[in-house]
Symmetry: D4
Subunit: 146 residues, 8 copies
């Protein structure tokens, strides 16, 4: 049994690499999917496909149509979602993806540092499991295969 896991979260650091490496080390039968990690490409894809837009707001709207399309297709294929929150960035997109996962009946593992427990209390309560580090998330994932 293979599982597809969607990794939701900021696309500025390389936290996904850490998860993939650990999963590979443990030989977990998991395929990872996620958003476009090249931040500049993610922002520019709208104008790249449709051409220049009137201003920054429309530029973002154009990019979002293609990014949301991509996320919708990939999350549909996922059996489980891991959402990571950190100190930096607004991460409203991450909260949106985490919540969408729950509504789609996909189990959700929330990774957040202890310091962010307060602003994430509601999402944490809804998630299947809340952990503080990538390591703990991997353990929760590996546990499914035992």
């Amino acid at each position: 049994m293979r599982l597809t896991v969607y990794l939701a979260g900021e696309i500025h650091s390389s936290w996904r690499e850490e998860i993939k490496e650990k999963a590979q080390t443990l030989q977990l039968p998991v395929d990872f999917v996620g958003p476009m990690e090249n931040h500049d490409r993610s922002d520019a894809i709208g104008e790249e496909i449709l051409g220049e837009q009137p201003d920054a707001v429309f530029r973002d709207e154009a990019a979002s149509s293609f990014n949301n399309l991509r996320t919708q297709v990939l999350m549909k294929k996922a059996d489980l979602v891991i959402a990571l929150f950190g100190e930096k960035y607004r991460q409203w997109n991450t909260a949106m993806d985490a919540s969408a996962a729950l509504s789609l009946g996909k189990p959700l593992i929330l990774i957040r540092p202890k310091e962010l427990h307060h602003p994430l209390k509601e999402l944490s309560s809804k998630a299947n499991a809340t952990v503080e580090t990538v390591n703990q998330a991997i353990k929760a994932l590996a546990y499914i295969f035992e």
Copy 2:
């Protein structure tokens, strides 16, 4: 035809009052519901009902179980959701509620200042309509009744 509208957003300012007053002025047949607006009570409700919890994280978890229960019941009754974002506060709970609304098939009006267009681009693209002020949201709501 009356509509029930859930107002999702931070509970620190009185933005909901402004919406309710404007709706009343226009005599819109709308009932508004929303989260517990007394911030201290919202944070304390867990320990108030269950007793003292071991630490701040568990205190938040306890409170969230009752706040999420309340939100789930009220949002179920809603015909439409208005979610407001502002500069202050993490507002991950707001993003979670806005996304839950969409997944439940409830139309969503997103209110956000122009300056926040970038971190909210994906949510904005998914929402039915995005406006910048409470006034505009009221106009969109009133339009439904014309």
Copy 3:
């Protein structure tokens, strides 16, 4: 038992008035809802709420966000949908609403002149009933209450 009926179709003629008058004559316990019938207002509502948009395409996008919001709320309330097609106008919006109705499990009565049977054959096959005139649609509606 009252029924709410959504009237989907072009907003250039007064066909909805005919349906409402006939229903009233027969004293059918029906409430009718539908799109904004003032065509200019329907097209202008986007810029009216959000301000001037860069060009005609964005003007339409803005208006559509509010019109789709309105339609989604009203169609949710409907027990049945009547969709009318005629010779004039593209009516892709009508086809979209008719199809949305079917997918939402709402019964659909399709009104179309015999001459349009070919381009509407697939939609007609999916609809619960296909008639040629408003009179026949009213009879089908009245039959539900007998």
Copy 4:
């Protein structure tokens, strides 16, 4: 990860060939499905299976039962739908398929020339992404696999 894409649209031109060739050139792991492209066969299939029908309307109804059956089976298998609109033809069937895709939770890419922005404004607003050419649709599709 392979994707199945349903190509909705008129069956008079060879636009699907263009999409398939471009996808093949980019080596996208995509399988394309769509309606019966042989227009005469599509119209005749009803009488071919059931025998001669009383008139043209019934001839169309018979054909549509088999064409809708085929579309329903194939669209169920699809992960994403691309709907193309052009100047010619009524294309109400295309609007119906595009809308059905959305209601089934299948992401939708709408291809339409800029000149048709007005009659397609509502469908465009609901679609995940709107582009103007087949080339742009392929780029949006390819982006999912990056």
Copy 5:
């Protein structure tokens, strides 16, 4: 709390009258709905609305479009369905309505004489409750209100 109950079954005898009278005697807060009980009208409604059809098969198809429309609207409003089977008539429509009720999550009470236990064994197993007489069905219904 009032309940709406759909009475599915043959429209040749007056079994529905018996149920309604007994329910009234017990003062059960129940509203009953059901198919068109005037058998001739039920068969003729297609041609009455659409005009003469080519033959008996098309006559039936036309009538069924309006009868199914009516049933769909009324069954949507029902909280519970009672389906009665008897020795006479094919009653495939009854089996179809009973099964549709189950799939719609509506509780189903099946009334069938003991002699028909064999051909109805599968439907009986799926139904919430199986009884043999109208009296017993009324008791089951009354029990809900105790």
Copy 6:
């Protein structure tokens, strides 16, 4: 693309063999599933597993629990359902399966001799396609693969 087709209908004749042979001749990529065709085994399975039951009614109830279990698992796997009706037998189980298929969103092909058009008019109207012979059903099925 392979399809799984559930063949619903009486288990007294060998009509399924005819369908399977024709499908094989045409090399259709189809897997067929259906109910237990050994009629005696189908009726006896309850007592075979659970032991002797008090009377014929309970004997049938026991058997139906295992037959419905089997049908539910197999129909879940099906992409399409073909339901055959004939002159003999009550076939209420067939009507139940056909209706369940529709409610599960599975396309349905109804096979019935012309003489049975009247008692099957409502089910026929709901089905995707209605044909009169196994040959025609095979043609409809083959058409999906063209």
Copy 7:
């Protein structure tokens, strides 16, 4: 806004009375529904309606068909479910109702003494909120109306 609350749990003690009294004291706009509380009647209803059954197992099966019918109708009407567990009785029916509530998207408040935390840990984790006494459950309920 009134809420309907289903009270799931053993029918041997009068815990429901306590909840109703407290709710009335607080003037909560709540209507309570629940299973048949007369234990003997609940067990006997099957034979009362259908007549004597072969043995105790069939007696229970008959009763359960009517009790499950009743529960299904009432729980459908509920906005929220409260499930109480205590030391005595197997309460598998309670666990079944609590779980059904969750699956139906109905918020669930679980009441259980601290001593039962271990066997109820999984259900508690899924429930919206877990409390230890009827008093706490009432507070959670009242909080929704503040």
Copy 8:
């Protein structure tokens, strides 16, 4: 056609081994999944991943978040669920899993000794089939493949 079967029930005895052996002997194309069978590990997994918890209740809550996550993922993959009840243990988790299976539309086979017919009467009535031994459950499972 392979089936995945989730085995719900207590994790203290080796009843699952018996089922797997018998299935293997009959060469049934079935893959079995189930909860973590190492009871100590199941209870300790919370603290193992998250670290020591304040007390036994929180220890259980932590473990349950990971066990429910695991169950949710595995049950999603299941085509059918077998739930076993025995004299020992509270088994509220088993009742919860059995009920969740039903709500997810997964067929359910209930195994329970005759002596437990009374407390399991409601669940038994809802299950597709109720048997008394593992042997009978295997027969019901094998029957699907005949």
